[in-house]
Subunit: 183 residues, 2 copies
């Protein structure tokens, strides 16, 4: 429609795609079915899909300008040749989380040190967040991470810290999908 920007990314589990699925496990709530490959595309292709998730690359919702400056100074982009591992982590938060006003959610986000924890793993772990809740998707967020194989233990350590935070008490469903680049 009109000149609306392409901002929705489709993550399709099936038999195609440049990522081999090495594991899928539910951290909270229902899991997703196993599949062999994952495709990351900007248009939806239904062929042979076992599941398909969509999320929009959007504006910052909690990050301040000072935090953004800190992140931009340290972070790496997607597609690094050495980053042959990835993770896709779909998450849904509770109705109680979404019913809160902006200042209430921001306070929990800040107390949970979400940004500060992520900063500790830059530039090793590259990250892109996709917003799904407004798309009537089964998850609220899809976070995509890329890292080198030798940095996967660091990535796991980051997840342990985030999952122990106050913010994560509002996570109702979380699936951890690990991937290896095929070429």
């Amino acid at each position: 429609m009109d000149m609306a920007a392409k901002r929705i990314v489709h993550f399709t589990g099936g038999r195609d795609g440049e990522w081999d699925v090495t594991s899928i496990h539910a951290v909270a709530g229902a899991t997703l079915l196993h599949c062999d490959r994952l495709a990351v595309t900007d248009t939806l292709s239904e062929s042979d899909a076992i599941w398909s998730l969509a999320g929009a690359i959007s504006n910052l919702r909690y990050t301040t300008s000072a935090e953004r400056a800190g992140l931009q100074a340290k972070q790496s982009g997607l597609g690094r040749t050495e980053a042959r591992r990835a993770a896709l982590i779909p998450i849904s938060k509770s109705a109680a989380w979404w019913a809160m006003a902006q200042d209430e959610r921001l306070a929990i986000y800040a107390r949970s040190q979400h940004t500060a924890i992520g900063m500790d793993y830059l530039p090793a772990v590259a990250r892109r967040l996709h917003h799904s809740r407004d798309l009537e998707e089964p998850f609220d967020f899809l976070t995509w991470f890329e890292f080198a194989a030798e940095d996967e233990p660091q990535f796991d350590h980051m997840l342990v810290r985030l999952r122990a935070s106050e913010e994560w008490t509002y996570v109702e469903r979380e699936v951890d999908i690990r991937l290896t680049r095929t070429h």
Copy 2:
């Protein structure tokens, strides 16, 4: 997909729907084509549509818990029998707006007194905001207002104040669609 909530509302201009279109005019940027009727539905119906816009009812993005309490104490809901007039105002903001971090956008929103201006017209003007940008729609927001015919001058006054605010310097496209309930 799964148990995802219905949150997307479709506003379809054509020959059907419970609202007569009394006027459509562009405040900034390109207008929308004239049509006779507007239908507001939770599923998309393409039949005879001249245009169709979609937006998601979502969580609060700037409103604080104190502001929300103030709004909830004064506001009225949609569908009042006396509210036989409505307005649909699709808006798009500039790339500069969306590139700002959360604290930067919030500061402009607060300085512009967006919430305080709206409060002055409660409970006469009922309002519901729909988020469209992440849906790859041509507008970023669709705001729906309902009011009694005798309150339309008040509603117009509210728009004059909002359009004079700092926040509105970031509005690149705005269309003002006025409606009358047909039954």
